[in-house]
């Protein structure tokens, strides 16, 4: 069994090549375990189901295994194991909710709206092309 990484972001994109200009061939999710095929600078080639492979940026990954649904047993395991991390620990949705109750003037609706500003892969490629911008190592 080779080395494995966990996805530490909500959604991570796996691409055809080690570049953000590579086409997205799969989306992986928080806590997913991925088997490493090889690494190249800040990119990791991982195995996908159906004997497919693709590249994901290292910043989306952690070496730890992420436990999504924790119970007491796993908490003590995490304290004594070197390879576990627990999702949702510490500052989480529950803490945010409590903070919101105590700080009603904070504008979370504004933040929610901001989070809807999402730029797709195609829009980025188009933006770069239209501006005659050629990122290093990224010509597609």
């Amino acid at each position: 069994m080779g080395e494995q990484f966990s996805v530490q972001v909500r959604d991570g994109q796996v691409r055809t090549k080690p570049s953000f200009l590579g086409a997205v061939i799969a989306t992986v999710h928080y806590g997913d375990r991925l088997a490493v095929v090889q690494t190249k600078e800040s990119w990791v080639e991982v195995a996908l189901t159906g004997s497919k492979q693709g590249w994901i940026h290292l910043s989306a990954l952690t070496e730890k295994e992420i436990i999504l649904n924790t119970n007491i047993q796993q908490v003590s395991q995490a304290a004594s194991s070197d390879e576990l991390a627990l999702a949702g620990k510490g500052f989480n949705k529950q803490v945010e909710d409590q903070f919101r109750k105590q700080n009603s003037q904070a504008n979370f609706a504004g933040v929610d709206k901001m989070e809807t500003f999402r730029i797709s892969q195609e829009e980025m490629a188009q933006f770069l092309k239209a501006g005659d911008l050629k990122p290093q190592g990224g010509a597609s």
């Binding site: 530490q8 972001v9 909500r10 991570g12 953000f20 690494t39 800040s42 990791v44 940026h57 290292l58 910043s59 952690t62 070496e63 730890k64 649904n69 924790t70 119970n71 007491i72 908490v75 003590s76 995490a78 304290a79 004594s80 194991s81 070197d82 991390a85 627990l86 949702g88 620990k89 510490g90 500052f91 989480n92 529950q94 803490v95 945010e96 409590q98 903070f99 105590q102 904070a106 504008n107 979370f108 504004g110 933040v111 901001m114 989070e115 500003f117 999402r118 730029i119 829009e123 980025m124 933006f127 770069l128 239209a130 501006g131 005659d132 911008l133 050629k134 990122p135 290093q136 990224g138």
Partner: protein, 309 residues
Amino acid sequence: MKVRRLNRRTFLATGARIGMTGLALSGSSLLLQGFGFGDLGSTIEQASKLTESATKSFTAVSKAMEDITPEQEYYIGRTIGAIVLNKYKPCEQEAGNHYLNLLGQTLGRFSDLPELFDSYHFQILDSAEINAFATPSGLVFVTRGMLRCCDHEDALAAVLAHEIGHIQLKHGLHSIEKDRITKATSILAIEGTKNFAQSDIASLTSSFEDSINDITSTMINNGYSRSFENEADAAAVTLLGRVGYNPAGLINMLRIMSKQLKPGGLDFAKTHPSPESRIENLEKLVAGTGAQMPAASQQRRFESALKGV
């Protein structure tokens, strides 16, 4: 670059230490109750446990930053964003915000921290102040006053790249007071999330509020250290060059800013080193990066998107 490797033994030791501190912390509320009800014997016992745990938690401080996962950064960042958007009104100009996100999210993709728990998001603030803020986790705010210091797309790219620099270098998280991190991580060790006891939630929330206050007071009121600003400028120069912008855009923006800043103002005038000193630092970094003429299409879309802002 090598794949980052965590030292497993260190993690093991830190995990164990933090776990113990967490247990002792629930003792601290008992300690307070003890004083109220005069149960001195058990109070002394609790106090000695606390001293022991304080020593343990001290050793955990240096590892505490590493323990703030992207998921936790995300919740810290959202709350700081909500505070910024209470202090400043968001500008609802759709074309301007869309353009800012096209530019900013593209830059974020090519930064040293391309993947965040959620994503980079950018918002224009309806304020004449010259200011920009970035939360841990990727929310970036730019005032209308700051946009007016930018006369070209590469100048605006420079402003956003500087903010992305603060994010990738985790400057916001560094402004949380050290003893707060100790306290926060000790509570973070109470890891069963689904069934937090109400007292744990209250305790966590109070620690959360304190951490948020540390970041906002640095970010909004006092500013980062000069060395953090220089680091963010250096990160911006690298990122701009990587994407294909002229890094001198940052210098051009600072020249305009230095004319527009009002001495004694509560914006960049207060929270940042003077534009002149930043320019001096930047000129060394930018020298030799080779300035290319930007495409005319950049100027057209820049003016068209921001004309209503």
